[in-house]
Amino acid sequence: MLQPEGQPVHELSLCDAIVGTTMKHADGRAVQQVTVRIGHLRQVVPDALQFGWELLTESTDLKGAELVIEQVPATVACLECTAETTLDMPILVCGVCGSFDVRLLTGEEFLIVSMDVAEV
C-alpha cells in the first residue's frame, strides 16, 4: 500500500471539499451515502478521511451519511516492452523489464463518484 505518514489536517481539507460538493449537488435532499474514488498515488489515508468525514458532517445535513472510499491501485504501461504493472511502491518502473520509461495508467484518481439520496 502506498500510505505514507499522512497528516489528518490534509484529509480534513479534502473532506471539506467533499462536503461542499455533496451539499451543492444534494440541494436539500437527504444524502445517505457518498462514494469517492481515490488512487493510491494520492497521499490519502482512508481511516483519516473517514474520521474527518464524521467530524465535519456531524453538524450538517449530511450527518449519518456513509462515506464509501473506492481505492484504485497505481498501474503503469511500459513504453519499452508494453507490459502493464501494478505498483506496490510509488516507484514508476516496469515490473517486467525494469524500464523507467513508463506511462501512468491509473493511481491519480481523485473523484467524487456519486451520492445516494432518498427518494422524495
Binding site: E5, H25, Q43, S114
Partner: protein, 262 residues
C-alpha cells in the same frame, strides 16, 4: 473546471460548465456508468446520483483564475514547497539579494501563524510581500490553497511585479495537492531529511519541476548518501531538475536564480 462526463459509448469528455446545475442528473440512464459503478440504483427508496467531479475542482477553478490574472500581469509565479526547516526562507533571502536589483519580485508568504518569515525577508530586496496566515481557516491549514492565494494576491501590486514566489507552508504532504495558479512548482529539500523521503512523499516530489537539494555544506558531517537520494528521486520523478545548493554558503544559488528567471 471541467467535469468528466461519460457518454454511452464509454468515452469520457471534459466540459466547462458555468451552468453547473445542468450537469447533475438523477438516473434516467442516458449516461453510461463509470467503471466500478453499480446498478445505478441503491436500495429501494434511494436514487444514486452520478457526480464524477474532481474532489479539488473548486480549488482548481480558483487556481485557474489566479493563473489567468498572473499571466495577464506578465508575472511568472513559482510555488515553493518543502518540509519545515528545509531552508526556503534562507534561500529566498539569497535569491532576493541576487535578483532583487534587476527583477521585480513579489513574495507571497504562507505560514500557519506569525509573520516571522516575512519579517526575515523584509528589506531583503522584494518589491512587495504579502502574508497569508492559514490559521484563519479551519484549525490552521497545513498548506496554501487557491482561495488563500487569491486573497494574498489582492494585497500585491501585480502590475509592478515580474516574478512572484509563493512560499508555501512547510509540509511535505498537503501543499502538493493544491494548485494555486502557479506556472511552476519548485521544492527545497535538505539533505538532513534523509534519502528515503521521495518514496514516502511521492506526490510532492512528483509535482516539483525542480528540486533544490539544500544544506550540501553539511554533507561531510552526515551519513546522507547523495546517490541513493538522487536515484530515489529519479524513480518517482524522472524529469526533475536537481540543483545542489547551500543557502548558507550561497552555493548553487546562481543556478537556482537562472531557473527562476528563465
Amino acid at each position: 473546471m471541467g467535469r468528466i462526463h461519460l457518454h454511452e459509448d464509454g468515452t469520457a469528455a471534459f466540459h466547462d460548465h458555468d451552468d453547473e446545475d445542468d450537469f447533475e442528473h438523477d438516473h434516467d440512464h442516458k449516461h453510461a456508468h463509470a467503471v466500478g459503478d453499480h446498478s445505478g440504483y441503491a436500495e429501494t427508496g434511494t436514487t444514486r446520483v452520478t457526480i464524477l467531479e474532481n474532489l479539488l475542482s473548486e480549488n482548481d477553478r480558483v487556481a485557474d483564475a489566479n493563473g489567468r490574472d498572473l499571466t495577464a500581469a506578465g508575472i511568472r509565479a513559482v510555488n515553493l514547497m518543502s518540509s519545515p526547516g528545509a531552508g526556503k526562507t534562507t534561500l529566498l533571502k539569497h535569491t532576493l539579494a541576487r535578483l532583487g536589483g534587476t527583477v521585480r519580485i513579489g513574495i507571497l508568504e504562507g505560514d500557519i501563524a506569525t509573520t516571522l518569515d516575512a519579517d526575515e525577508l523584509e528589506g531583503a530586496g522584494a518589491r512587495a510581500i504579502s502574508v497569508v496566515n492559514t490559521s484563519a481557516g479551519f484549525g490552521g491549514e497545513c498548506h496554501l490553497d487557491a482561495v488563500m492565494v487569491r486573497s494574498g494576491l489582492s494585497r500585491l501590486p501585480l502590475d509592478e511585479l515580474e516574478l512572484l514566489i509563493i512560499e508555501n507552508v512547510g509540509n511535505l504532504v498537503c501543499p502538493a495537492e493544491f494548485r494555486v495558479g502557479e506556472e511552476a512548482r519548485a521544492m527545497v529539500y535538505a539533505i538532513t531529511e534523509g534519502e528515503e523521503k521521495p518514496l514516502k512523499y511521492p506526490v510532492m516530489f512528483r509535482a516539483a519541476e525542480v528540486v533544490v537539494v539544500n544544506k550540501m555544506d553539511l554533507l561531510p558531517h552526515l551519513d546522507f548518501d547523495l546517490d541513493t537520494f538522487l536515484s530515489n528521486l529519479k524513480s518517482v520523478n524522472p524529469s526533475a531538475q536537481v540543483i545542489q545548493a547551500s543557502a548558507r554558503t550561497g552555493a548553487g544559488v546562481d543556478e537556482w536564480c537562472s531557473w527562476l528567471t528563465r
